[in-house]
């Protein structure tokens, strides 16, 4: 199937993009297109207009500081993964990014687009949540910062308003002495995960984020939970579902296995 007709805008400034977005009744932002174009082709979405933001200068920067990593809206997954300094400040970002799709998809897809797409089967939304990051949003009315814990409202539903453009995402740095790890299981390399787990261990604190086993990106505090109870403690907050790729029971078993493995690895990384 092909996309339904839409009006196409390719603004060259952010201000112009925001004006256009505000003036359209049902418009969508087009960034890397790696999630949106399939939805349009399958006619799951049929917006009246697309605002292609890829010609706007200045949105493709990666700023690495001691505080963390700020990623502009047009930074492709591949650029962020290849950046030499990101790993030093926040190793969970490249560790999780390496599992986002195939290299060819990462060449086009943006990390910010992936976050605001708010898919609970995607790696980067839950990584942002686990790290307590945030998204900068701009509209004709001004800008605001949306903390990750307020960003994910429902399945593929973010707190971004239809007239807003996410201009960047911020991943806080890993504190000294903390450790992270990420692992997922997928049918084929590069596929969406059947289940995935990210963990941050800092002193006594143990927190984990889960991919593909809930409707919304979910982070669970596992501080003080004995190792052999980690799986059940996590599953109390998750809702693994059955689809053509795996049964709910199999996904639950992956959670049990992965959460122990990943928490152990994060502890080792912290030591």
């Amino acid at each position: 199937m092909k996309p339904a007709p839409f009006a196409y805008h390719r603004p060259t400034t952010l201000a112009e993009a925001l004006e256009t977005l505000a003036g359209e009744s049902y418009a969508k932002v087009l960034a890397g297109g790696q999630s949106l174009v399939p939805l349009l082709s399958m006619r799951i979405a049929a917006p009246h207009a697309l605002v292609d933001i890829t010609a706007i200068p200045g949105l493709d920067t990666i700023e690495v500081s001691e505080a963390g990593v700020r990623v502009g809206a047009l930074v492709r997954h591949a650029d962020l993964l290849a950046h030499p300094d990101v790993r030093r400040v926040q190793p969970l970002v490249p560790e999780a990014l390496a599992h986002v799709a195939h290299a060819t998809i990462r060449n086009r897809g943006t990390t910010v687009g992936s976050i605001v797409h708010a898919d609970a089967a995607a790696e980067m939304p839950v990584v942002l949540s686990l790290l307590g990051g945030s998204v900068e949003a701009a509209s004709t009315g001004g800008t605001r910062t949306i903390p990750a814990e307020e960003l994910f409202l429902g399945p593929m539903e973010s707190a971004l308003r239809p007239d807003e453009i996410a201009t960047s995402a911020f991943f806080p740095a890993l504190p000294a002495g903390a450790g992270v790890a990420f692992e997922e299981i997928s049918r084929r390399q590069g596929d969406y995960a059947l289940a995935g787990v990210a963990a941050v261990v800092h002193g006594e604190s143990v927190r984990a984020g889960f991919v593909s086993v809930s409707d919304v990106p979910t982070v669970v505090d596992l501080t003080g939970v004995p190792d052999d109870e980690l799986g059940e403690a996590a599953l109390a907050h998750l809702d693994p579902a059955e689809d053509i790729h795996a049964t709910a029971g199999y996904r639950a078993q992956l959670v049990r296995t992965l959460v122990r493995r990943v928490v152990t690895k994060a502890r080792e990384a912290a030591a």
């Binding site: 007709p5 839409f6 390719r10 297109g33 292609d52 060819t104």
Partner: protein
């Protein structure tokens, strides 16, 4: 209401051509229908199979996940652009032919573009790296073993230091590779 058409320029394989098309025209369709470059194949049309992969500014990209109107200001290379100036096969194409890396050939353009770009970035891949290069492309015929062999062979053919490297255009390989039929 008739659909608005956009008059744009696309630069494909070093040639710039003007086309008039609706915004919803996928780059894959623009290449095939508007420009007549049918080497780019279309399988799934949602980014999964890799048959439509072309190079955009040298990087492998799914042509079915891009609108042609978004491809202005880029340099596109399709499988037609991988041959040498005289029309003979480039190293990756040559390697796929030698190693029996294709049967029906439907998936092949996507493999050729992807592998061309990957070998530019990593000219001497390990076996695992060669496998990873083609991990995002599906083939329903070959079983992949010969495709991975073709990647490794292409690395040799593209390497001027290798005895078979940069063989003069058109010359047959010295020792033909055993081909299973």
């Amino acid at each position: 209401m008739s659909e608005e058409l956009h008059r744009i320029r696309l630069s494909v394989n070093g040639v710039t051509r003007e086309v008039e098309l609706p915004a919803r025209r996928l780059l894959s369709d623009a290449l095939r229908h508007d420009l007549g470059l049918t080497g780019t194949h279309v399988g799934c049309e949602h980014g999964v199979c890799g048959a439509c992969t072309v190079l955009v500014d040298g990087q492998p990209v799914r042509a079915c996940l891009m609108f042609a109107v978004s491809a202005v200001d880029t340099e596109i290379t399709t499988v037609e652009g991988l041959t040498r100036e005289d029309g003979s096969l480039g190293p990756v194409q040559q390697a796929f032919a030698e190693c029996h890396g294709l049967q029906c050939g439907f998936c092949t353009p996507g493999f050729l573009t992807t592998v061309t770009a990957c070998l530019r970035e990593n000219p001497h891949p390990s076996h695992d790296e060669a496998r990873e290069m083609v991990a995002g492309n599906l083939c329903r015929c070959t079983g992949y073993q010969n495709i991975v062999k073709a990647v490794e062979r292409a690395a040799e053919l593209a390497d001027p230091q290798h005895p078979d490297g940069q063989r003069p255009v058109g010359q047959q390989p010295d020792a033909p590779v055993e081909v299973q039929r």
